[in-house]
Amino acid sequence: MLRDITIGQYYPSNSIIHKLDPRTKLMLTLVYILSLFIFQNVAGFAVVTVGLVLIILLSKVPIGYMVKGLKAIVIILVITAVFNLFLTPGETLVVFWKLRITKEGLKNACFMTVRLIYLILGSSVLTLTTTPNQLTDGLEKSLKPLNKIRVPVHEIAMMMSIALRFIPILIEETDKIMKAQLARGADFESGNLVKKAKSMVPLLVPLFISAFRRANDLALAMEARCYHGGAGRTKMKPLKYKSADGVAYLVMAGYFAAVILVRRFF
């Protein structure tokens, strides 16, 4: 069960999207998310759909693989749809008992659901085509200006990449502790919610202790290898913009303009 976590999952391939600079992809994702909240009618929806489908096709990631990621948010989707459907005031279409469905409600529900689905699909293209390392590198470089207002950008990026490195290790450890506690008669399955939460204590305490011990060891190992923050550090794989990135930025500008124009004139 714990192995199904898909955060930061990467789908290896050598598509054009995979080869883009992570900074470009971050920017593209940001603009894409903005555009999701700009479109308001069917024409805008069409433009965004074309954009999304194009990117997915270019990334060579199988659609089925991406749709799997939607499973996690099905409940959120349903709740959003239901709330929008019944709670939006406006012109009444149908009345069931005390519940009223309005024309605006129907429209809102549809658009919100589509927006959420597109949001997940679009941002999963980013994580599926970018390795966690590239992603943190990209973040570090893009956020560098924040250094001037004393945001420790390098340190944050370093923490992120270490966290990503330790996720599988800690999951494995949780599994081990769980089995060890089960062997001693612990019961993680039965009982109500409160009882279940309580039964997690013998799992979490050893996990935390071991995580702190690991952190301590790791800090020592990093210091022994001369780590002293971001100052004077070089990179094995420095980020460099290529011509494909220029094209991507142009396409992005065109797409964004199209979304805005469609909103104004249709």
Partner: protein, 283 residues
Amino acid sequence: MNFIEARKLVHEYIRRDEDDNVESILTALDEVDLDVRQGEFVAVLGHNGSGKSTLAKHLNVLLAPSGGTLWVDGKDAEDADNLWEIRQNTGMVFQNPDNQIIASVVEEDVAFGPENIGVPTSEIWKRVERSLKSVGMIQYREHSPNRLSGGQKQRVAIAGVMAMEPKCIVLDEPTAMLDPNGRTEVLDAVEELNRKKGVTVILITHYMEEVVRADRVYVMDNGKVVMQGTPRAVFSQVDTLKSYRLDVPQITLLAHELQKAGLKVPQGILTRQELVEALCQLY
């Protein structure tokens, strides 16, 4: 001057209560003298709590001495200006392979050290390739460390240290968490670095079999160096070693028992081959 020179090195772990009063003092190192020449393979042997790990951490200036002097590569370890230079020159490999690998790709982890000391990008690539080759892990350069065996991870950790081009590596019980195969893998890699590249090696361990490969052995007990010499000289004193709760290698023990039983076997036999030859000469 020797590469490492420790004179009367003392380290005390001081435990304080909430009001900063000293509650108890644990002397982990008690006037330790240590001399290691450039290119030597030295093993430090000791039971748990003998102070051997504390000693290792001093060599990399991860801990500062409470007393005495320590010179590494002709530099005073107590001078803060020398800190990074010493850490670069004496790399350190720890016990748990998982807790010292920083990156999620093997080659990026090996590059971590050189990145920290500001080596230019093209040089980093060369160093990564060279050090991965020297521990026989080049074919795994793009793998995730999570998929490697313990011995392989530990070799990656050694490569990570080698990429900083140190003159000396200190290995703090590098094989304690490995299976016998992994153990031989790691020790073979270390021995090769020592013999072929002339890297000074300080191996901290409590496995007797590993010590046989060293040029010289220090035995520690209760924070003190209690014995030193070649493996042969040290292992010939089976009874003294036992008093420090250390076992000699099985083959040495067998030779020792045979000798006690009246056979004329020489002292300090280290390998099966030696014992076979000694026995054959008897008759």
